[in-house]
């Protein structure tokens, strides 16, 4: 497999703040990668560097290109939704299609039109007349119609209601994603993309806290839910995080076998959301 993004020692400093502190990671073709981290962890800065929107130090290749120097060529292969509501408010839906068709060599207008026909969006509407959810649908229609190799989404569903969020990700997965494409996304709503992701990169204080495929997560991390009386004994196996749930204790382990843990209680693979909280609070308390 070829790497879509190769980052090595990527750093970015804003005044005294280190937004990115020498992070390294690889993202390969055909993956859906979640870049997950608390506010101010450096997620957006990392995406900006990948999209050539900001300068940085360190090495970074996106689709084999230098995103800063070869930005225009890169943007023919990369799509991004930077946030909701960045479509200009004065723009009409028909104008949006016409403009993108005029400037993008990989835009197929019929695809966008057929997607929009399934929505309540009218061609003559201006963006300002659309609801937030509809604006996202319009943006999604534009992106779906661009045959890009990398799609970058920065909090694409922020502020949307559940129905729009769900259909956003469903459309993305069913109508867009294939093995030729790669999706990189950041979100706060980890639960919602949990089943979508093939890989996760946890990032905190400008550093990579964890980078693994979802498959590997199941092998590396275990969660045991046990009775409070068992807790002291289980602690001997050095859980990196624990929390109390309805009088029982959930403990998170790294690199233990089912044989070691099975006797304490109910064993399962931790969800990405739980793992995220565990990792972030775990590293915070250390």
């Amino acid at each position: 497999m070829t790497a879509v993004i190769e980052a090595h020692g990527l750093s970015k400093q804003y005044g005294a703040t280190r937004a990115l502190d020498g992070i390294s990671f690889n993202i390969e073709t055909g993956r859906i990668v979640g870049l997950i981290g608390p506010n101010g962890a450096g997620k957006t800065t990392a995406l900006k560097a990948i999209l050539g929107l900001t300068t940085f130090t360190g090495e970074l290749r996106v689709l084999g290109l230098d995103p800063c120097r070869e930005r225009d060529a890169l943007m023919r292969e990369v799509c991004f939704i930077a946030d909701v509501a960045v479509l200009p408010r004065w723009l009409r839906v028909s104008q949006a299609l016409e403009f993108v068709a005029g400037v993008h060599p990989r835009f197929d207008r019929t695809v966008a039109e057929s997607f929009l026909r399934k929505t309540d969006i009218r061609m003559s509407s201006r963006v300002r007349e659309l609801s937030k959810g509809m604006v996202t649908q319009l943006h999604l229609a534009l992106v779906l119609a661009i045959d890009a190799r990398l799609l970058v989404l920065d909090e694409p569903t922020l502020g949307l209601d559940l129905l729009y969020r769900r259909s956003f990700y469903d459309t993305l997965l069913n109508d867009y994603f294939d093995k030729q494409r790669t999706i990189l996304l950041t979100t706060h709503q980890v639960e919602e993309v949990e089943n979508l992701l093939t890989d996760v990169i946890f990032i905190n204080h400008g550093r990579v806290a964890l980078s693994a495929s979802v498959e590997d997560l199941g092998k590396r991390y275990q969660q045991v839910t046990l009775a409070a009386e068992q807790a002291a004994r289980a602690r001997a196996l050095q859980p990196f995080y624990e929390r109390e749930v309805f009088g029982r204790v959930a403990m998170f382990f790294e690199g233990r076998t089912p044989a070691e843990l099975g006797s304490f209680g109910e064993l399962r693979t931790p969800s990405i959301a739980d793992l995220f909280v565990a990792k972030m609070q775990g590293t915070g308390s250390r």
Binding site: T29, K48, L51, L53, T54, T55, R71, D72, A73, M75, R76, E77, C79, F80, I81, A82, D83, A85, V86, L87, P88, R89, W90, L91, R92, Q95, E98, F99, V100, A101, G102, V103, H104, P105, R106, D108, T110, V111, S114, F115, K118, H139, L144, D147, R149, N174, D175, Y176, D178, Q180
Partner: protein
């Protein structure tokens, strides 16, 4: 829907091949059209002015302050009056056009940051140079040319209205249509407009740079240095170099052309506006080093605006 996407994917080039960019000309056309979608004042204001002038022509009166009104009896004089009406009616259009373009230039690179749509524009494969270039093309080519065409066509409308009024007897026949003089006047307008565009280009570049740079209130930022600079210079040094320079960049082109030598209306006669073609010194204006220095400054200012748009990181 999923079928359509699958079809599209199948016919798409395999991953790894780099698809050629769109031709810059095609992209430029899309970018220029987009400017007129966003900044509707660019075409609305001239149309409104034209409509208002048409109303004035339909109900207004013509006052001729020429002492020897006998002169109006001659054909040449009536043709001259016709061209003067043509020029006077075109002026408001060009003046409004200049204001609209100035506000447009101040707003165009600021608005996209203010409404955060810049991230959308930047998600498309359009270089910053081409984006800013399109705005320069709108301000210095598309709008001036559009104004010229509109003014020329509008004058046909005005002439028709005036002719109808003469036929109806509600207007004295103080003018006569002359296709030759109409074209000569329009040629003069075209040349002067083109020259004015070249001379005022650095001001356009300055406004564009302020628009790219301003965090808030670009209008204030653009006017403050022009007002405060000369004032501070006068307070500090008692000199007037800055105000002299600003005055020259605003009015210099008319001095170079020698507008003061053109005689259109005198106490005893009126002359066709087209006669100014023989009087105005276009060669002196075009070969003026200051005009070319101004164009070099324009290039530098536009380049700076492109760099700011490219590397600014506060969205």
């Amino acid at each position: 829907m999923s079928g359509t996407v699958a079809d599209m994917t199948a016919s798409a080039p395999p991953a790894g091949t780099t698809l050629a960019a769109k031709a810059p000309g095609e992209v430029l056309i899309a970018l220029v059209r987009r400017e007129f979608w966003e900044h509707r004042a660019l075409w609305l204001a001239p149309l409104i002015v034209t409509a208002a002038l048409a109303v004035c022509v339909a109900i207004g009166r013509i006052h001729l302050q020429i002492e020897d009104s006998e002169l109006i009896q001659s054909e040449a004089q009536r043709v001259a009056v016709f061209t003067i009406i043509q020029a006077v009616l075109a002026m408001p259009l060009y003046v409004v056009g200049m204001f609209v373009v100035s506000f447009y230039l101040l707003d165009c690179l600021y608005a996209e940051r203010k409404d955060r749509s810049i991230l959308f524009w930047k998600s498309l494969p359009v270089s910053d140079a081409l984006t800013v270039g399109a705005k320069v093309v709108v301000a210095l080519v598309a709008v001036p040319l559009g104004l010229f065409v509109l003014a020329s066509l509008a004058h046909l409308l005005y002439a028709a209205i005036l002719g109808a009024r003469v036929l109806l007897g509600t207007l004295a026949p103080v003018f006569t249509w002359s296709t030759y003089e109409w074209l000569r006047t329009e040629l003069l307008m075209l040349l002067v407009t083109a020259l004015a565009v070249l001379w005022y280009a650095p001001i356009a570049g300055y406004l564009l740079l302020v628009s790219a740079w301003a965090r808030r209130s670009p209008i204030l930022l653009a006017t403050l240095p022009v007002v405060l600079g000369p004032l501070l210079e006068w307070v500090a040094f008692g000199s007037h170099y800055l105000s002299g320079f600003i005055n020259y960049r605003v009015n210099g082109i008319w001095w170079l052309l020698g507008v003061q030598h053109a005689r259109i209306v005198t106490k005893h006669a009126v002359y066709s506006v087209g006669t100014a073609l023989e009087v105005l010194n276009f060669r002196a204006a075009l070969t003026s080093i200051d005009l070319w220095l101004g164009l070099a400054a324009t290039a530098a200012l536009v380049y700076a605006a492109i760099r700011i748009r490219r590397y600014r990181d506060d969205s």
